[in-house]
């Protein structure tokens, strides 16, 4: 009964995103402009403080102070007043200050995983009434860039305010940055190069990657951010949500 209830809750809380074709901001290789994204479910909102607290209580090895630093740096849940007490944080605001390892452990315990970059970007490209086109929509871009411009510091509002996108998903933009399972996939073709090319291969490779749409500065910022992360990093404006099989 409990399992059935949990599954039902997941279905309600994680809308189905229909499969389709996605044009990655950074194509995986020259000559491959499109990638196919299979149908998946994605949490309607970022994981909240309240949800993460329940996870930590059920999985004490992920409490602050219990998770080894190789999995979560010293900023892990550092805003909380104790390992299980979020203090002044509201239960409905997105949890932040969690590492990739911690976020992934949460999602796997929930029966899913972190979304891939392609899944996340595909779902995030939906507008209010269409499955794609947000990256080309000036009003959407202006809103995202205004949020990037605010910088960190403001208290986080509760999740699922405002209106959802086409898939019924909230807060893909303008609340927190979000982990993806393959945040470290962007590379940098240095190591598939021919032997004996010039030096500085890693960053030559990176520079040689061609962004699909240089005007899409919002996407660029997300990719730049992801490529700057390491899996144990925690910061106070980086949260996550989970993806599931359809």
């Amino acid at each position: 009964m409990f399992v059935l209830l949990a599954i039902t809750q997941t279905l309600l809380a994680a809308p189905l995103v229909q499969g389709g074709s996605h044009q990655p901001f950074y194509p995986p290789s020259s000559g491959q402009e499109q990638v196919k994204v299979e149908a998946f479910r994605l949490d309607a909102a970022p994981v909240t403080v309240g949800e993460y607290r329940a996870f930590v209580i059920a999985n004490p090895s992920w409490a602050r102070g219990a998770a080894p630093p190789i999995f979560a740096d010293a900023g892990y849940l550092s805003q909380w007043t104790s390992p299980t007490d979020p203090g002044d944080l509201t239960p409905t605001e997105p949890v932040t200050g969690v590492s990739w390892f911690a976020a992934r452990a949460y999602c796997r315990a929930a029966g899913g995983d972190l979304p891939t970059v392609y899944q996340w970007e595909y779902a995030a490209d939906a507008t209010a009434d269409a499955p794609a086109g947000g990256r080309k929509d000036e009003a959407t871009l202006a809103r995202i860039l205004a949020w990037y411009g605010e910088g960190p510091g403001a208290a986080l509002r509760p999740v699922s305010q405002g209106s959802p996108n086409y898939w019924g998903i909230y807060d893909m933009h303008a609340l927190v940055w979000e982990w993806t399972v393959d945040f470290n996939s962007l590379l940098i073709s240095a190591d598939v190069r021919e032997a004996g090319e010039e030096e500085d291969l890693r960053f030559c490779g990176a520079g040689a990657l061609s962004a699909r749409d240089v005007e899409d500065y919002a996407s660029f910022m997300r990719f730049a951010l992801r490529s700057s992360l390491e899996a144990a990093y925690t910061t106070e404006n980086l949260g996550f949500r989970c993806a599931y099989a359809p």
């Binding site: 900023g75 590379l187 404006n237």
Partner: protein
């Protein structure tokens, strides 16, 4: 280089607040976490051996990531069907070992973890061992379960992405671990000078 610069900018945006907030936070003692630790070892908090993962090696034996705990280890990731970078990676590790004395070499272990475990069966891994004349008394090539590949890559700072046609783009990083699985030094990229890593290895002994 432009990407790198802007990446730094983005990192600054992201971390400035976190640094301010957590700069003086006490570092709490690490204890063991159920997803990772090898119960029999008292591991330092920054040991990659906290990751509890069973892999299958070229002999078909099931081994832990910490299979070589107790000795310094060179660890990297590769895949057997990789046409260019992985043979170069193995050549780099071999060249590095060639600079060691026989005694130093005898104390060192090498663990190469597959990025493509579904293809890299023990037979495929044995094929690599035979093509490269690898000393199996000190080297293991091993495939983790698919979902754990990215965990290991994340610990080692290795990026990878599947591309069409079955190849993988991946960074080649050779990491030196101390006897407890702590990351001591890295060679980032192929055909790098091994000197920093050799010095770090000799400083361990």
């Amino acid at each position: 280089m432009r990407l790198r610069t802007l990446t730094s900018v983005a990192l600054c945006l992201l971390t400035s607040q976190a640094m301010a907030a957590s700069g003086d936070a006490p570092i709490e003692p690490a204890s063991q976490a159920s997803i990772g630790p090898q119960e029999s070892l008292a591991l330092p908090g920054d040991s990659i051996y906290h990751l509890d993962v069973d892999m299958v090696d070229q002999r078909g034996e099931t081994i832990a990531l910490s299979v070589y705990a107790g000795k310094p280890v060179l660890i990297s990731m590769f895949y057997a069907s990789c046409p260019m970078a992985c043979p170069m990676l193995i050549a780099d590790v071999t060249a590095l070992e060639d600079k060691l004395t026989a005694e130093e070499r005898a104390g060192l272990r090498v663990l190469l973890v597959s990025l493509d475990p579904e293809a890299d069966t023990p037979e495929e891994l044995r094929g690599v061992v035979e093509r490269h004349v690898i000393d199996q008394s000190r080297w293991r090539l091993a495939s983790p379960p698919e979902p754990r590949v990215r965990d290991i890559a994340a610990l080692l700072g290795i990026s990878y992405q599947a591309i069409e046609g079955g190849e993988l783009h991946h960074s080649s990083i050779i990491t030196l671990l101390d006897s407890q699985g702590r990351i001591i030094e890295k060679l980032d990229g192929l055909q790098q000078s091994p000197e920093p890593l050799l010095q770090a290895l000799r400083a361990l002994e």
